[in-house]
Structures are given as C-alpha cells and as structure tokens.
C-alpha cells in the first residue's frame, strides 16, 4: 500500500471518516478506565492526600498541550517545505485541541496549587512559560482566522508554529534550569518514574485517552476543513 496516497485530501477524507470513531471509542474507554483507576483504585498520596488525584488530568493535559504544539510545528515544516495541503489542514485542525489542553493544564494546575502550595498562581518559570504557550495558541488561531486566503493563512500559521516552538523546551526544562515552586520531573528518562506503579497505570491510561481524543477530534476537524475547502474531494472520496 502506498502511504503517500493518504497525504492527499481526497484519499485522506474517507480514511479519516473510518478512523475517527475508532479513536473516539478508544478515548472513551481509556478515559473511563483511567478515571476509575485514578479516582477510586490508586492509593492516597503520602504527602498530598487526596488532592493529588488532579494529577491524572493535569499531567496528561500539560503534556498534550506541549506535544500538540510540537506536532503542529512539525506539520508546519512539512507545509512550508513540501507545500502539502493536508499537513497544513492537520496543523489547523490540531490547534483548538492544543489550546484546550493548555487551558486545562493551567486551570487544573491553579486549582491544585491552592490546596498544596497555598496559592493559585505565582510567576515561576514553568507557569509563565505555559501561559505563554496558551497565548501562542491564541495567536495562532487569531492569525489563521484573520487571514481569509486559506493558502496564506496556512503558511503564516506554519511559520508561527515553528517560531513559537522554541517555547516548548523552555517549559519542559524550566523546573530544572530555575528553581521553581512547581515540582521537578516525576517522569524522567534518567530517573524513571518517581510515582507508585498503581498510580502510573491510571496515568498511562489517561495519557493515552487524551492522545486518542486528540486524534479523533483532529480527524473530525480536518474532515470539516476538507469539506469546506475542497468540496469536490469530499464527493469523490465518499463515492470511492
């Protein structure tokens, strides 16, 4: 099978149509399992007690917020260098989800901070750079929505995504570069996980749930974009 075939909107459209329900179902199942594991099965934490359970939403959301931006930048590189229509569409289809997750990370983080640290917000490196990430998403969406020539909007968005991606390593490493109020890395390559295994299970389930959700939503949005921009392909695709 030729994979490149699916790089064209015409063949992608039906494929995405078949795939998104699969991912949606996976997301739902994993989320139910992960939340059950996380909220009811995983043990209480020895220092934070019950509030630590926000971790099962906070961390997946924060990771997705950062990861989706990187994926957008990657698609942006493809769109700029190979002029592929589909990667630009995927880039724009991902942005709202990324913004949502970043917002969730900020929000759950703030909610979590009050009982644990004693404050909702403090301008430390990680929180500030996460806020910047959120504004970058807002800027990306505002820019691409304000330009009504689709091709130009795609390319401008791609450039912004690439330039903005310098922020991602800053978010990630901020806790090790600067001393911060935010905790250090629980999951790191060198040290493995500093979380009890029964907590990790729930966490992994939630992370994959968020992945599957992001993919499903991105596919649905990409289909909507194709429908809007290239109605001819939709028809061909459905017929095929």
């Amino acid at each position: 099978m030729n994979l490149y075939r699916y790089a064209s909107p015409a063949s992608f459209y039906p494929l995405a149509g078949r795939l998104w329900p699969v991912f949606a179902v996976i997301a739902a199942l994993l989320a139910v399992y992960g939340l059950y594991e996380g909220l009811f099965v995983a043990p209480t934490d020895f220092q934070q007690g019950e509030v630590y359970r926000i971790v099962f939403i906070h961390v997946p959301a924060a990771w997705m917020g950062m990861f989706i931006y990187l994926v957008m930048a990657f698609y942006g590189v493809l769109a700029l260098s190979f002029n592929t229509r589909l990667s630009a569409m995927m880039m724009r289809a991902l942005a709202p989800t990324g913004m949502l997750f970043t917002f969730l990370a900020l929000w759950t983080g703030a909610l979590w901070g009050k009982p644990t640290w004693g404050t909702y917000w403090i301008w430390d490196g990680r929180m500030t750079s996460t806020l910047v990430l959120f504004f970058l998403y807002v800027g990306f969406i505002a820019l691409t929505e304000s330009i009504d020539d689709e091709r130009r909007a795609d390319r401008a968005g791609a450039l912004l995504a690439i330039v903005g991606s310098v922020n991602i390593p800053i978010i990630y490493f901020s806790v090790t570069w600067w001393n911060s109020l935010h905790q250090g890395l629980t999951f790191s390559k060198s040290g493995g996980s500093k979380m009890a295994p029964d907590m990790v299970i729930a966490m992994v389930a939630m992370v994959f749930a968020c992945w599957a959700y992001s993919i499903a939503v991105a596919l649905v949005r990409a289909r909507a974009i194709i429908r809007e921009r290239e109605p001819a392909h939709v028809w061909n695709g459905e017929a095929a």
Partner: protein, 161 residues
C-alpha cells in the same frame, strides 16, 4: 566558487555567534536566576535585606512553634547548612510540615527574623501510598527530599524523636 566561499564564511560567522549565545546561556545558569533565595545566601548577605524577597528551603524539624494567639507561627527555614528564623501570621497550606519544602515571601526584620507575608508549600516529585513511604523509611531509605537549583540534592532530615 567565490560565492560559495563567501556563503561558507557567513555560515561560519553565524555558527560562531550562536555558540557565543549558548556560552552566555550556560554562564547565566551558573549564576543566580532564582524564584527564591537560600538561607545560606541570606546568611552571607548576598540578598537585599532591606526589601521583600522569597526564601526557600526545608522547614527545620522541631522548630515549628505556634504562638499563643493561635495564628502566628515561628519556624526555621534551612538548606541544611544555615537556618533562618521565620515568623508568619495567617493560614498555612495543608502541605506545610516540618522537614518539608517551603517558600516564604517577606522581609528581614532588623532583629534577624524573617517576617513572612505569604507561605507556600513546596512538595517533591514523589508520589506513593503512605504505607509505601512508611515501609521505605523503615527500610532505611528515606524518601528523597527537595532539590534546589545550583545545589546538590538535600536529604530530608529525619525528625528527631
């Protein structure tokens, strides 16, 4: 040919400038880019003592005392080398405990006390069930404590019985 040489020269200049930039970043991370200062820095007067700043460290075990009014507390913040006495009136975060990380904001009093206006608890990146933590402790592997920028990890001191 000539053009290619020229381009090469410019790329070389670009790379050189970028490496200077990297060197500067590394240099910066060796100095004091901090959200909070350590008790050692305070003791060595590297911190402006006449204005508000943040002080971070561990709550020295056995130093937490409630004042008669029930709201004011006194404790010492330590980085295991030096300790600074802190006074605070207000509600403490739940995670505030002896031997745990804390970040306090406030000002030094002429008397040498740090008057805190805000107390933030700083916890670490370990998550486990209380029984597991207890088991670890019993086995003689204390749970690793706080890590402060630019310093070696500090091991939480066991509360003296």
């Amino acid at each position: 040919m000539k053009n290619r040489h020229r381009r090469f020269a410019w790329i070389a200049v670009g790379v050189a400038v970028l490496s200077v930039a990297v060197a500067l970043v590394l240099k910066a991370f060796q100095s004091n880019l901090v959200l909070f200062r350590t008790p050692t820095e305070v003791a060595e007067k590297k911190v402006p003592l006449d204005r508000a700043f943040r002080l971070g460290g561990l709550v020295q075990a056995g130093t937490l005392k409630r004042q008669p009014d029930g709201l004011t507390v006194r404790f010492e913040v330590t980085d295991t080398a030096k300790a600074i006495p802190v006074r605070y009136t207000g509600i403490l975060p739940d995670l505030f405990k002896e031997g745990k990380g804390v970040v306090v904001q406030g000002k030094m009093e002429p008397g040498g006390d740090f008057i805190a206006t805000e107390v933030l608890a700083k916890h670490d990146e370990n998550y486990m069930a209380p029984e597991a933590a207890e088991a670890l402790r019993k086995a003689g592997h204390p749970v690793k404590g706080e890590i402060f920028a630019g310093e070696k990890p500090v091991v939480t001191q066991q509360p003296t019985k």
